[in-house]
Symmetry: C2
Subunit: 359 residues, 2 copies
């Protein structure tokens, strides 16, 4: 099995900590290791043959630096995208490389910026999913929902068989409103679409050919060295073929169209950590619901539900509620928790104003 | 006329910017000059014979450094108190020194940490007050109230004469509740007690002898050098007599008891800048009521009534209202504007926890 880690995201919702050169997945959001490093460490016990990290040219150097220490245990290769084109091209690239070397090799596809609480259960789920993948299915990990979340897409499964799964996928559903989300939870056969997949390289390539012929044709132009893993030359070719590739998600491009998709129920404490607002879910708040990260000392008087990512300072909160405060050396964010999604708008505004040094 | 500037305050309500060694009056709250420097510059056009700055030993060095440049225009002497004992002892000290040199010299007493908008009008008011002071009155500047403020003490004047003042003072009133404050405003003969005074040195010393005999006796123990202004030796003596001196305000100790008190109406845009919450009053807010100081760039989305004292950073506000955010190199404060008075409680808590490096 090969692990493919999608690490090219820009993480604008985690501004100002997340920057173009140091996005969310390269950050030490939880103190200590970065999310990318945690993702690598999570798969190492599965003994993957290789780990492929698909990332952005801007982030390649820092990614390589962070992953150097793991080479003793498993070779980690970095594939550089000149620009982000969503997940389908990134997955197609990785599949092309793996297939050249090991045509029916299994690919475990993982975003680099997800948070998982129970890592052992995660690996058990992967093991369970492998069987279906070896049999030619496109397997997606469906998170057993713990609440009627409106921020995630859902997967409806056909669960008549009452087995432990995998289950055939009936349909993918876009982010629902609250009423529908509650219906999904009550129905019992809906899962959160985690964006974590497992399949054979040849199977996903066949599906790309069927449903995304343009991407498939562009990928076919890649010419490999004798040594497939000689990626320097390949990275140059990627730069050229990416000119012609349209951005598309693997969900929309393949998963929603293919007929061999199954879902493996997953229950290991998961969050896509989509914005600052998600951190209190995955970190342990104090009794008043405050979470502080990278804070030297905390003094809170009548403070509730606040998240402070500090600059290693003493932090004092007085009479404040549901705030996100992020303090970095050159930028300070103060945001209501309900507006965490709007942080990306600040990044857009910075771009518009040409304040590139803050991006 | 001698200017006496009371500069020994600790300014704990302006934590974390205000620290023991660098309190509010030494800070550049408004960018540029410190409040102490602004106070000195405000009196220089009045051509005082000398300026006496009464401050705390801890702050003496920084005060001297900030005032060095003014010696060309007017000699500035620094009197050091080993500990703060409120305004009466500080004023008594200054009066003792001035009286030794110039017994019926006029003393203009000014706190170092007040904000005044119209400085020329301030000086006109001083000129008007001087006459009454020369005639042996204790003159206090009463600010014509612009709103029913409950955070200030009031002075009730006897205004039957319909002159421009000074008016005899009927009584001093402690901070009122809102109902009473409204009554005061409607009555028309109430002024805010600004803590700015003018009187002859011999007159205030006589009053100290009458109403604060212990302080008066302690001050009488001071022995002056041939050159009255040789303050090094005096500062040592102050350290010894301060052991026996009780803390008391000049308002309670003298003004509320003396019968020769008059008030000069003052209308020059004044604030005692008592807490972070007062800054939006004296600084120009943007149309949404936000004030930013020491901020590199500001991006505000649905932000209202916020005060940000930044660390020279870009600051982004999203969906927040009535917040005070103060960012310093080692401490960050986030406080609801209605709780600005509680900042001093954080300072007390820091003392209790022994976190002296943040005081």
């Amino acid at each position: 099995m090969y692990a493919v880690i999608l690490a090219g995201g820009s993480g604008t919702r985690f501004w100002p900590l997340s920057r173009k050169k140091n996005p969310k997945q390269l950050m030490s959001v939880f103190g200590g290791k970065s999310m990318l490093q945690r993702t690598v460490e999570r798969v190492l016990p599965l003994k993957p043959k290789r780990i492929l990290v698909v990332t952005n040219t801007l982030q390649a150097e820092e990614s390589a630096r962070q992953l150097k220490a793991y080479h003793k245990e498993c070779r980690v290769d970095i594939i550089e995208e000149p620009v982000g084109r969503n997940t389908a091209p990134a997955i197609g690239l990785a599949a092309s490389i793996i297939a050249r070397y090991d045509p029916d090799g299994l690919m475990l596809v993982l975003p680099a910026d997800h948070y998982i609480v129970q890592e052992e259960k995660f690996r058990e789920t992967v093991q369970q999913a492998k069987k279906a993948a070896l049999n030619g299915y496109l397997v997606t990990m469906g998170i057993v929902p713990s609440r009627p979340e409106t921020g995630y897409g859902y997967i409806e499964a056909e669960m008549e068989l009452r087995s432990r799964g995998p289950y055939p996928v009936k349909r993918f559903v876009e982010k629902p409103n609250l009423t529908r989300a509650v219906e999904f939870i009550n129905a019992g056969n809906f899962y959160w679409n985690s964006g974590m997949f497992i399949w054979r390289a040849d199977v996903i390539l066949d599906n790309l050919m069927a449903f995304m012929p343009e991407l498939s044709a562009a990928l076919a132009r890649l010419s490999f060295s004798e040594d497939v893993w000689e990626l320097d030359d390949l990275n140059l070719q990627i730069e050229s073929i990416y000119q012609d590739i349209a951005g598309e998600s693997i969900d929309f491009g393949v998963m929603e169209k293919a007929d061999n998709v199954v879902v493996v129920p997953a229950e290991f404490g998961w969050s896509d950590v989509g914005s600052w607002g998600a951190l209190p879910e995955v970190l342990e708040p104090d009794p008043a619901g405050n979470v502080t990260i990278n804070v030297m000392e905390k003094l809170a008087m009548d403070a509730e539900g606040c998240l402070v990512y500090g600059g290693g300072k003493l932090t004092a909160l007085i009479g404040v509620k549901d705030l996100i405060v992020v303090d970095t050396p050159d930028a300070l964010l103060v945001c209501h928790r309900d507006r965490a999604q709007d942080v990306k708008k600040i990044v857009e505004e910075l771009e518009k104003r040409g304040l590139a040094e803050y991006l």
